[in-house]
Symmetry: C2
Subunit: 207 residues, 2 copies
């Protein structure tokens, strides 16, 4: 069995964007399986006493983040445009990702993040989400409908609570099977290496 890392992502988070674009290739290099899981940082920030992004609460950090993102995306040769407003309302995007089959999530997430941070599109708009879904699945409208169901709403709330209990306080966050937590796009490699180096040993000689 491959080592596994849970990739907690928030559609309004700038640094999640390069992580989303890099994650699959870096995981494949190491033979690590990624489980892509959307969450909502809003309730987690609220529990920390913050009513918006730290990049808005601390403008110096916000200005730095924009320049840092320009450098990171430049090196990856992907476009970067800060959405306006920032942060965007990511509720619909997170519910759509939750409503999707697990195997369809990575492609949808990349489409949605490219729209949000490559083009500055409004991911809170159903038409934008429908367009992203159409690029990945046949039944975009069915996914949007399922995204509004009580089941999906509850699953996203439960996922956010689960993430917070696991030690998530920002995004992206990578959680290894043994509970080790790595925060930030710049910790992706460290998380994958950790998972690879600390994978449960195969049982030998079991007949």
């Amino acid at each position: 069995m491959s080592p596994v890392v849970t990739f907690w992502l928030e559609f309004a988070s700038t640094y999640t964007y390069p992580a989303v674009m890099r994650a699959e290739a870096e995981a494949a290099k190491r033979g690590v399986a990624l489980i892509w899981r959307p969450l909502l940082l809003g309730p987690i920030f609220k529990n920390q006493g913050m009513n918006t992004s730290p990049f808005n609460l601390f403008p110096g950090r916000g200005r730095y983040m924009i320049r840092d993102m320009e450098r990171i995306c430049g090196a990856l040769e992907i476009a970067f445009k800060l959405p306006d407003p920032f942060p965007q309302n990511s509720l619909l995007a997170a519910r759509c990702a939750t409503a999707l089959a697990v195997e369809d999530r990575p492609a949808f997430v990349r489409e949605a993040f490219t729209m949000a941070f490559g083009e500055g599109a409004q991911i809170s708009e159903p038409d934008v989400m429908r367009e992203a879904l159409k690029r990945v699945v046949q039944d975009a409208d069915a996914v949007i409908a399922r995204a509004q169901s009580d089941e999906v709403k509850g699953a996203l709330r439960a996922a956010t609570e689960e993430a917070e209990k696991a030690g998530v306080f920002g995004a992206p966050t990578f959680v290894c099977a043994d509970g080790e937590v790595f925060w930030g796009n710049d910790r992706l490699e460290a998380a994958l290496d950790w998972a690879k180096d600390h994978a449960p040993k195969e049982r030998l000689g079991a007949i």
Copy 2:
């Protein structure tokens, strides 16, 4: 002339510790000169509306930082012990570093950080600073006396204001000659690479 990077450091900052221990070797690899400059984050945090370290204001981040530091210091094979209280009062250490000749600063800074974060020593204590200074210069007592002078106090205040104007909001921060800012131990290599790649070109053919 070598490319130059200003290394803004705060003696109470956890992530400054691994940066201090790594900086000289990484800079030498790239032929970049480092200018080590102490500052006080207290006034900078205050201007952001924070009355203590963000690691205390946001306990989830604080717990993560401790684990992250354990991993980083483990990989570097240096000891890590979070000082109590955290953050320490770093005023005397910053004044001592300011009072030192520029060429004596790196060695003193490494001694002081090793005491603070490797051993959990109280760097606000004059006896602890005297011990760190003794390992680096002949006249430790003279440095401690000079550290209390109006000239040094004013120079440290001015340095902190200069750093804030340059875009510093945390530590460690690396500022290149062209004004490019890199924040965090994990951006040391990027800052040095930037300085190397964006150094003013030598004039060719000047006789």
